[in-house]
């Protein structure tokens, strides 16, 4: 199966190359995305032309590059570079210019992120991008699990960005929440040795089937649930440790939840917030309440 060897996050909190749990226990509050010093990891010539969302994906990728050859790069994103989408839309809506700059158009294409990662890591392997609202990361993860089965060492990531225009639109749609910016990447392979966790399963199903799935599969003595969502008006997830409180709200934030689960599996902590972890914890279920009807369920074990 698929084993996680590395992870890296850029999100709310100073997470780059660090653990989310360290942040939690240090209790450093932030509502803004904290970006690393990109010029320390990406060369200056490349950096200047790169969109913000590509910088996040590439910096996270560089933190996850394994010793072995990477055979595949897979990315999940709900909206891609929404900033460059807005720029290009405005360029032909608001002005009479007949000569438009192609740069925002190119950067708005969803697979510019995975393509730029391949370009800057000189990777000629498999490359794909998935987008399915709040389930965008689960599509990429499902492909990544297949790719490890097929023998590839995989870079897998989720990434989304927010903009003032996007949040202005959310407000006009009477949304109770604001989108934030964030990204988490992993290195996955079929090699168990020195891995941090194994992904046992990732499924997408309807919310009404979740309860029977949990009843059939969940063992409270050994299993722990964390849950989250890329939208806020959701009461179910309050029953469990809520990863979206730490990640912020973006469509591919279940990738962040998976990193948090990997860290919990490798930690000695016995409780977090109001939740006690099983003494003999073997597995963590990550439940992503993606929409009012759809859930993604990912199961990890040490």
């Amino acid at each position: 199966m698929a084993f996680i060897h590395k992870y890296s996050t850029i999100s709310q909190g100073n997470f780059y190359n660090k653990n989310i749990l360290d942040y939690y226990f240090n209790n450093i509050a932030s509502i803004e995305t904290i970006h690393p010093e990109y010029k320390k990891v990406i060369s200056g010539i490349n950096l200047r032309r790169m969109s913000a969302i590509v910088k996040m994906g590439l910096a996270n990728t560089l933190a996850c590059i394994p010793k072995q050859k990477v055979g595949a790069i897979v990315v999940g994103t709900g909206l891609g570079s929404i900033h460059h989408t807005e720029l290009f839309l405005s360029s032909f809506t608001d002005s009479e210019l007949s000569v438009l700059s192609p740069t925002p158009f190119i950067n708005s294409v969803h697979n510019t992120i995975s393509g730029e990662i391949a370009l800057h890591t000189k990777n000629k392997g498999y490359n794909s991008t998935y987008s399915q609202g709040g389930l965008s990361f689960e599509g990429a993860l499902t492909d990544a699990i297949l790719l490890t089965k097929e023998g590839h060492n995989v870079i897998l990531g989720g990434v989304d960005e927010s903009t003032p225009i996007l949040n202005d639109i959310m407000q006009k749609m009477d949304s109770q929440y604001k989108f934030t910016t964030g990204s988490t990447f992993f290195n996955l392979s079929s090699i168990k040795k020195d891995s941090l966790a194994e992904i046992i399963n990732c499924i997408i199903t309807k919310k009404q089937k979740l309860y029977s799935f949990i009843n059939e599969n969940f063992n409270p003595d050994e299993d722990f649930i964390i849950s989250g969502s890329s939208f806020c008006n959701n009461s179910e997830r309050a029953k469990h440790l809520d990863y979206s409180k730490f990640s912020g709200i973006y469509m591919s934030n279940s990738a962040f939840g998976i990193q948090l689960a990997v860290e919990l599996l490798n930690s000695n902590i016995t409780h977090i917030e109001n939740h006690n972890l099983p003494l003999n914890m073997k597995r963590i279920f990550i439940i992503n309440y993606a929409t009012n009807n759809d859930v993604g369920i990912t199961i990890l074990r040490k």
Partner: protein
């Protein structure tokens, strides 16, 4: 593990269903015309436009007028998916997944909002996943769903994921497709890249001058034998191989020798356990941009030699972006079923850089058992699919 195609659906500028598309292909009639359903373009553009309003498309899709404001790519996708899915039903014994493909999602409605700042709720239809969400609900498919968004190779990659899911016994049946409507966003985008021809496009011609965009949707059903034993569907064709490789050369352009294209085709041959000589015909990506056709032409020549039979159907439909991969796989299946090669159009002068020339006259009664179909996209994305009987 046999991967059978058991359903086909297509709507494009050359026809509203499979039969109409086939008739246009074999009578060499192009669907490229002046784009006149999109308001507010800065100049005239030629494209593969389906000459029906959204209201008329909705009437085909739903059999009646609907009040809902739906993106045009959704309407096209629903029409093609209904043709492919036919009378199939959800079945608890058949694990069924749904994979869509798009580059623009509901961008047409987003454009309207940016212009008028009215109907903000229509922006719920913006994200790329909305068509798949809608279709999965419509056909009551409640398991895995995703949408591939790798630009012009999106639906070829969707076929690839579906085939690998069946091969790895993750699912028994997958509804796969892609759809993109013409939008100001993509027309302006390709025009800003200076690769939009204002004459009908000329794939693999020495004087080719860029692409014409088109709009289309295509859907297919893939099934394993376990699923077919239950559905009793007829096998129409088989997916034999697939390959995806990254050119890692430039954000939008292909490498001069088509390294990524060669690698994708090579991987597909290996997956199918075939040699280049086993491929009877290649349905090339052939967008008619100077860069693509040279790069792809060189890759084909290197891998398949000077006598290979290949053509591009882009001058019939226009470049339909995320739909291109799947509609061209459907056209490849028509080639197999009818032992026919549909030729390139508008091709008058041989490319000086290549020894190979595309098929320029319709070839009938040629034995076509195995076809390779190419789809290449931005981000160096190269995808090849091999289809057999």
């Amino acid at each position: 593990m046999e991967i059978s195609v058991t359903g086909l659906g297509v709507i494009s500028a050359i026809g509203l269903d499979l039969e109409q598309n086939h008739n246009a292909l074999r009578s060499l009639s192009s669907g490229i015309s002046k784009i006149n359903l999109i308001e507010g373009l800065s100049q005239d553009f030629l494209g593969g436009e389906i000459k029906l309003s959204n209201k008329e498309l909705a009437e085909i899709a739903f059999g009646k007028d609907v009040n809902e404001k739906l993106p045009r790519s959704l309407l096209l996708s629903l029409i093609a998916a209904k043709q492919a899915w036919g009378s199939n039903k959800p079945n608890s014994r058949i694990r069924t997944a749904m994979i869509g493909a798009t580059t623009i999602g509901g961008m047409d409605l987003t454009e309207q909002y940016f212009k008028t700042k009215e109907s903000v709720e229509s922006l719920h239809q913006h994200p790329c996943g909305i068509v798949t969400d809608y279709l999965a609900n419509y056909f009551q498919l409640e398991d895995f769903k995703t949408t591939v968004s790798t630009a012009c190779s999106s639906s070829a990659n969707a076929i690839m994921l579906g085939s690998r899911m069946i091969k790895n016994n993750l699912f028994d049946r997958v509804l796969i497709g892609g759809g993109d409507a013409l939008t100001k966003f993509t027309i302006n985008g390709f025009n800003s890249l200076r690769i939009y021809d204002n004459e009908p496009c000329k794939p693999f011609d020495n004087n080719r001058n860029g692409l014409n965009l088109g709009e289309a949707a295509g859907y297919i059903i893939l099934e394993n034998n376990k699923s077919i034993a239950i559905t009793k569907n007829n096998k129409i064709a088989s997916i034999l191989g697939w390959g995806n490789a990254n050119d890692s050369f430039h954000q939008t352009a292909s490498s001069p020798n088509g390294e990524g294209a060669q690698k994708a085709m090579q991987i597909a041959l290996e997956e199918a356990n075939l040699l280049p000589d086993d491929i009877d015909y290649i349905n090339a990506h052939g967008t008619a941009t100077p860069n693509n056709d040279l790069s792809e032409g060189r890759a084909i020549e290197t891998l398949f030699g000077e006598t290979t039979l290949f053509s591009s159907t882009k001058a019939y439909t226009g470049h339909t972006l995320a739909a291109a991969g799947i509609i061209e796989c459907i056209f490849s299946i028509l080639s197999i079923q009818n032992n026919t090669i549909f030729p390139v159009l508008n091709n008058n002068e041989k490319m000086t850089e290549l020894k190979i020339t595309p098929v320029k006259k319709i070839m009938q009664n040629v034995k076509i058992d195995t076809v390779l179909s190419n789809s290449f996209g931005f981000g160096g994305n190269n995808a090849s699919i091999i289809i057999g009987r």
